[in-house]
Symmetry: C2
Subunit: 310 residues, 2 copies
Amino acid sequence: MSRVAVVGATGAVGRVTLRLLAERGYDDVRAFASARSAGTTLDGGLTVEEATPEALAAGDIDLALFSVGTGASRELVPHAVRGGAAVVDKSAAYRLEPGVPLVVPEVNGARALENDGIVANPNCCTIPLTCVLKPLHDAAGLRAVRVSTYQSVSGAGAHRMEQLRAQPVDDHDLAMDWSWEGDETDEEAKIRAEARKILELPELPISATTVRVPVLVGHAEAVWVELEEPLTPEAAAELLGRAPSVRLVDLPTPAAAAQTDQVLVGRIRRDPAAANGLVLFLACDNLVKGAALNAIQIAELLLQRDRMAA
Amino acid sequence: MSRVAVVGATGAVGRVTLRLLAERGYDDVRAFASARSAGTTLDGGLTVEEATPEALAAGDIDLALFSVGTGASRELVPHAVRGGAAVVDKSAAYRLEPGVPLVVPEVNGARALENDGIVANPNCCTIPLTCVLKPLHDAAGLRAVRVSTYQSVSGAGAHRMEQLRAQPVDDHDLAMDWSWEGDETDEEAKIRAEARKILELPELPISATTVRVPVLVGHAEAVWVELEEPLTPEAAAELLGRAPSVRLVDLPTPAAAAQTDQVLVGRIRRDPAAANGLVLFLACDNLVKGAALNAIQIAELLLQRDRMAA
């Protein structure tokens, strides 16, 4: 069995990663985090180790799942690669770097094998979006995508969940608590750039508006899709009903998606504003398929390759 | 001074209506509600009267502001009209009826005077949307509109605000708690049909996705607009900055809009998915400009006409 390291083990995504690994029977797992958390014992009994360059480069890790901030990934990931680990990085540090595959296994899983030590895991909104866009593109060709998001606070970290729990409901509000790139949030820029890379459609027009809502877990997205060829809502529903990791439901909501492995899709209907337009709504657990699960699926593609090579 | 009746005085919108009337110096105001609430005393000191057909038809009301359900409006409004009152009805009962003006004063105020006793007040999402669409249409011609909403629970009534206050934050979720008309919520159908009537663009393609978010007060909308002619985001911002009841802000949110009279608009940028496309975000207090204030503004257009005729 592979020796697995979870780096950023005490964060919202790190905790879910450890839980999913345990559920899947991984028993040689180590938990790494910053010096502040080192020495603490986690729910599953693991003692947190400090994520130092030396520890990560020591050569005793086969697979490292990183869920730390972009800055920490830039600093630490190269050491794990140097030590011989295959790295799946969940930050934005390497996603758009040429030569680093950006992978949603159901969409472009084969790309994971074309790596130089690092595979990047996409943004938590990009993953469910591309799971839904890919079958539609294969059937009728994507011409343009518009998406507005309803993102839970857990996407901003475990501390934001505690803040929401502590906040009087009278103060609940919408937010756009991201950095800005010109007239966009960096989240909006990420969705466009990452979806283009994953779908291998570098010119696809994608317009996103990202919004944080006072929900703890689960992201939802209202999506308008313009297609090159006609596709009825019924045909789209049939395609999506057969798509991997996608489940058709009447009404996808964050609560319905929470703790599930799937992207829930529903409300598929015609967009009267476009010739070949469809409207749909999706929801996904941003910590599971939107982050930890997708990274583990990537890791399993890599481990499978190693087993086949061995 | 006119004799004013507020029917549905104990609901979320009715209470705001009474407050706004008091602030504006109306001192001959009566509060009506169902038998269940009759006899109770409201914050401002008014005693609630039962909204019977006889009381409403008695001939001692000049202006009746209705904020009751669609069924109750259908039943009671004709009695107030029979008694000689000018009625502004906030329900969906008469909005699409030919001959009944559907009015946002900043957009089509003159239509209010072409009434046979009833003027309808639009849906709480339609009002801010048309305040923003009208200046854009006048400048560059609307070709298509897509909108996804972030609607607070107060839009569903005061009891839903109490429910949200009582609910653990872990249970907060998105909802689409409207009736269904085919593959749409009736809220989505209302936004399209009402905006077309108000803007006098009966063929305008409008695609809406309506979503309830766990916020108490204030609705927001992510809007994509396709125009006939080019219009830069800067020019659109300048137009909207001069538009009545519209205020340009960096980031419109429900909390920023709450208790204000204005529609907050921001995040105006190009839509890369359309030739002459713009994206924007708006927020509005659904109980104030989205309901009670708009109805009072309509009433004042009617009272002004009466004074000029007297």
